[in-house]
Each structure stands twice: as C-alpha cells, then as structure tokens.
C-alpha cells in the first residue's frame, strides 16, 4: 500500500514537473517556431517570474494577487524587449540572436542582484492550498502541487484553443508560414510578433511564479531550466507545441524516477535520452524532416 502510494506521489511529481517544464518550453518553441528567434534569455524570464511572485507576494501578502500583477509586468517586459531589441534580429543569423540573448542573461542576472539581492528566498504557499491530501496513514500529497498541475493544464488548453481555434491564432500561424503574405493582407505582423513574444515571456514568467513556493527563489535559477527546455525542444521537435508537451512529460518521468531508482546517474539520464532521440530521429519526435 505504502509502495503504491509512494509510486503515485512520484508519478504526480513527475507530471507536475513535466507540465511546469512545458510552460517554459512552449514559450521557447513558440518564439522560435513563429518568429525564428532562439532566445537564451528565456530562462531569465522564468527567474524574473519567481522573483516577482516572491517580492510582490511579500508586499501584497497574497500570492494570487502577486501572480496577477506579475503577469501584467511580464507582458509589459516582453512588449518592451521585443520593441527595443528582438524586433531587429528576426532576419539576422542565429549566431547574433545567441549573442544578444546571452548578453541579456548577464544583464538580467545583475539587475536581479541589484534589485533583489543574492539571497535564497522562499515564497509561501497561499493558505487556501496549504494543506495536504492524505494518501495512506503516513503519506500525503500537497494540494498546492495539484493546483500547479491544474493551472499548467489550463494554460496548455488555453494555448491550444488560442492557436488552433481563434482568428488571432490563425493569423499567428499564417504569419509564421509567410510573413510577407500576411502583411499584404493588411495585417500588422509587427504587432502580432510583439504579442507572441510577450506571450512567450508571460508563459516562462508564469511558470516561475508557480514554482516559487515549491522550489524556492534563488540566483541563476533560470539557467538550469533553460537547458532542460532546450533538451525538451530538441526531443519534441522545434516549433511543435505538441512535441514540447510530450517531451516535457517524458523528461518529468525520467528525471523524477531516475532520482528514485538510479540516483547516481540521474543527472545524465535526460541527456542520454536526448542522445537517443538524436540517433533515431534527429529532427525530434514531432519535428518536420
């Protein structure tokens, strides 16, 4: 009974971790798939989200208010960055996108140090979700983590509907396919791309905000997430949201159960998985050849 329950806990953890990864990776793959921009600073947005959640929550005393405020700020940050810098890099080589966003990481890290300091912080779980659901006499599962998974699923569903079922989504897909054609139809592609970038920033930042109470808030927290998200995108296939979802869940499973059963090599497993995908299907599971 206890064994089954602990397996269930690990399963829930891996799904929760996978879904969180998906939020970050989907923004990354969206920005690349639609605008052709590789964004190394994406992990920084995750970090910014976590710090926003922590600092706004300690100001307002409520994590939910903090998340709402933080989302508004993140969207504003995304719009500003796109207008100021990213916009000028759409047509340029990936090399310069890499260099630009690498510079942005340094800037964001140092600004974080100036604004919020270098200490490890932790955001508190809202009282509403602060209890746990008992599974057996000794084991229980925190409600907040379930809420995290639910929130991620809702966002994933919302994104699917936005891109596949709305007029805006249709225009975005068309813009990714041929920018000139959509422009000639009188649609403002510039604004469209600006919105997509802001959406990507908001997704990463939202993931950071959700994670703030469970993973604590610390310097350089974005780097680790970014690289795992690269692995997600390589495994799932670039530009494929569905691929990102499957790959995120896969990595969630591999990392969580790896740590339980093969702790010595757990850190490597994800990369071995990526190597395997590169051997068998270099374009990724859902990528186009």
């Amino acid at each position: 009974m206890d064994f089954a329950a602990s397996i269930l806990i690990q399963l829930l953890n891996s799904v929760q971790y996978g879904l969180l990864l998906f939020l970050v990776a989907s923004g990354l793959t969206l920005i690349f798939g639609i605008m052709g921009v590789i964004n190394l600073a994406h992990g920084s947005f995750y970090m910014v989200g976590a710090y926003l959640a922590w600092s706004l929550a300690s100001m307002t005393g409520n994590l939910l208010t903090a998340i709402l405020l933080g989302l508004v700020l993140s969207v504003a940050l995304g719009l500003l960055l796109e207008w100021l810098l990213i916009r000028h890099f759409y047509e340029r080589d990936h090399l310069y996108q890499v260099l630009l966003t690498y510079g942005l990481i340094l800037v964001f890290e140092e600004l974080r140090s100036i604004i919020w300091g270098d200490d490890v912080q932790s955001a508190t779980v809202p009282a509403l979700f602060a209890h746990s659901i008992p599974l057996t006499d000794t084991l229980s599962y925190p409600v907040y983590r379930l809420m995290m998974s639910a929130a991620c699923l809702l966002v994933a569903l919302g994104m699917y509907l936005l891109i596949r079922r709305t007029r805006l989504g249709m225009t975005i897909r068309a813009g990714a396919h041929s920018r000139e054609l959509v422009e000639s139809l009188g649609i403002n592609v510039r604004l469209l791309f600006q919105l997509v970038f802001a959406l990507g920033v908001a997704l990463a930042s939202f993931a950071g905000m959700l994670a703030a109470p469970v993973s604590s808030v610390y310097p350089n927290m974005g780097g680790q997430v970014l690289i795992i998200c690269f692995v997600v995108v390589v495994i799932g296939g670039i530009g494929s949201i569905r691929g990102a979802l499957i790959a995120s869940l896969l990595i969630g499973l591999v990392e969580t159960f790896g740590q339980v059963f093969l702790p010595a090599v757990a850190g490597m497993l994800t990369y071995l998985l990526m190597a395997l995908v590169l051997i068998l299907r270099p374009q990724g599971l859902f990528g186009k050849a």
Binding site: L85, R92, D93, L95, V98, L100, Y102, G103, M268, L278
Partner: protein, 356 residues
Amino acid sequence: MNRNQWIVLVLVALLLAAFPMTGSTFYTQLITKTMILAIFAMSLDLLVGYTGLVSLGHAAFYGLAGYTLALVQPKYDPMSIFITLPAALAACALFALVTGWLVLRTRGIYFIMATLAFAQMAYFVFHDTGLGGGSDGIYVNNKPVVGVGGTKLLDLDDRAQFYYLVLVTMLVTYLLLRRMLDSNFGRALAGIRVNEHRMRAIGFPVARYQLGIYVLSGTLAGLSGYFAALQFGFVNPEILSWHHSGAALMMVILGGMGTLHGSIVGAFVFVLVEDLFKDQGVFGAFAKHWQLMMGALVVLVAVFLPRGLAGLGAVLRRRRAPETAAVTTTASPAPTGATPTGRASAAGPSTDARDA
C-alpha cells in the same frame, strides 16, 4: 599570408615577448590568461567562423582537459607533460568524436541547443558526482615535468617560462591553423559553410569534413583548457559552464569571426574590458556590477557590430554619410538598417538550415 600580415605578426610577437620585462607580475599573469583564452577563441572560430557551425558548448572541452590533468596527475609525484598533455587532448578528442557524431546530425538552431545540452551533461558529471571533487572542484597538485631523460627543459612553476610557453603555443597554433585554412582543406570548409548541399553534390565528404573540424576544434580547446588548469592550479565545474562558452563566442565575434587573428584580438579586448569594468578606481562601487556592463556591451556588439571591431570603421563611416546608409537600408530586406553588412558575412548556417 602576405608580407604585411607577416610584419604585423612579428611585431605583435616581439611586443608580447618583451612584455614580461616591464616587471608587472599582475599583467604578465593577465596576459598569460588572455593568450590561453585566445587559443580557446581560435578553436571556436574554426567552427563558427570557418565552418558555419555555431557551438554553444565549447567550454566542455576546455574544462574536460583541465579535469583530465587534475585526475591523471598523481597526488605527490609530478608526472611528465608528455603523458598528461596527450591524455588531456585524447579525452577531448574522444568526447568531440562522440558528441560531434551526435550533434552533427542536426543543423542551425538544433545544433546550438544540442551542443549546449551535451556541454551541460559534462558539467553535471563533474558537478554532481564525486569524480572531480563535486561543485568545489579539485586542485592540480603538481605541475607536470617538462623534460627528456633527466634534463629539465622548462620549469612550469616559473611564471616567465610559463608565459613564453603559452606565447609560443599561441603563435604556433595560429600559424598552423592559418596554413591549414589556406590549404585545399580550408577552402573546402569555406565551401561547406556557404553551401553544404552544393559541396555534397560536387562529391565532398561533407560529414567527414565537419566531424574532422569538430574534433580538431574540440582538441584545440582542450589544449587551452590544459594550460588554464596549469596556470590556476585548480579546476571547478564553472570552467565547463555555458557562461564560459558564451564568453568565447563573444571574443570570436568581437574580434571579427572567420579571420582567426580576430579571435586573438577579441580575447585581448574582452579580458582588458572586463578588467576595466571590475576596476574600482574607474567605476567605484559600481564595479561590483561589472557583469551588468559586460552584458550591455555584449548586447551592443550584437546590435551594432556584427563584424566585430573589424567592422567598426564601416559602421562609423555609414553614420557620417547618411545618403549611402539610406541606399543600403532600402536595398536590404532586413527590418533593421543598422547592419546590412552582417548578413552577407554570416549567412552560412541559417540559409543552409532553411534550404534543407
């Protein structure tokens, strides 16, 4: 190389050779470090500038060589450099062969992500396992012996001798690479950079060329990492981190990629600027936030100087002559008029990816 290039090279070599006579230990050390980084940057330029493969995991080789030295070297007895150096280079070559075989199955943005991910894997091996002292790192207990039979040729503990060893290595590396790049092999690489498919159609074994240059580049990065570990007598996982790979990329672009000597210039400018930003005499208390200034500089270079310092003159001239700038802007389909020149020099990897 033409006569003028030889003259510049000899002058630079003489200047660097004379530098330790100024007696400044700090700057002699700093230049040693810079020359090591210049070798590192040149090895990356082989991939990025000459072959059109943007690697973001180059620090893995640098770190791997350092760790190999630290682990092969016994705790008490110094070992011969003729054992530790080949061991470090072999480790890097092997790692490059395996990861190269994998990452070269991808192109463009995939290649960037995959190289970064494998470098991170190497980072985790040294960071999370007890193999190399974990996150604390490990000391290189003894400097290797440079000698044949019983005669000692060099004393690596002597800072001046080490300085000259690094200087000579950097110059020899530069000359050998220059020779290689001017040969048919180098021309084939340029062909692959510009149009991989066409080269394959002509009958060049493109994949083998790319893997070959990837292994060479990784091994050379290992050479620089070996020297770095020697200089600092210490290795930790940070030397494998992607920040280090990013810094190398910045050096290559800063000096002008695809030129080889640009990497040397880039390394020197990078280190000197970093040293300046960290200087409290210049920036006061703000020097603590040197990383902010460095980041801003990287962003500015990406925006305004796609061809690095070599392109600085062209950018300034365009500013002074607005009419010609207007012409280039309208001629370029890119939304930004600031950098129409950057496209031509760097069109390699992405156009290939889109052709595919």
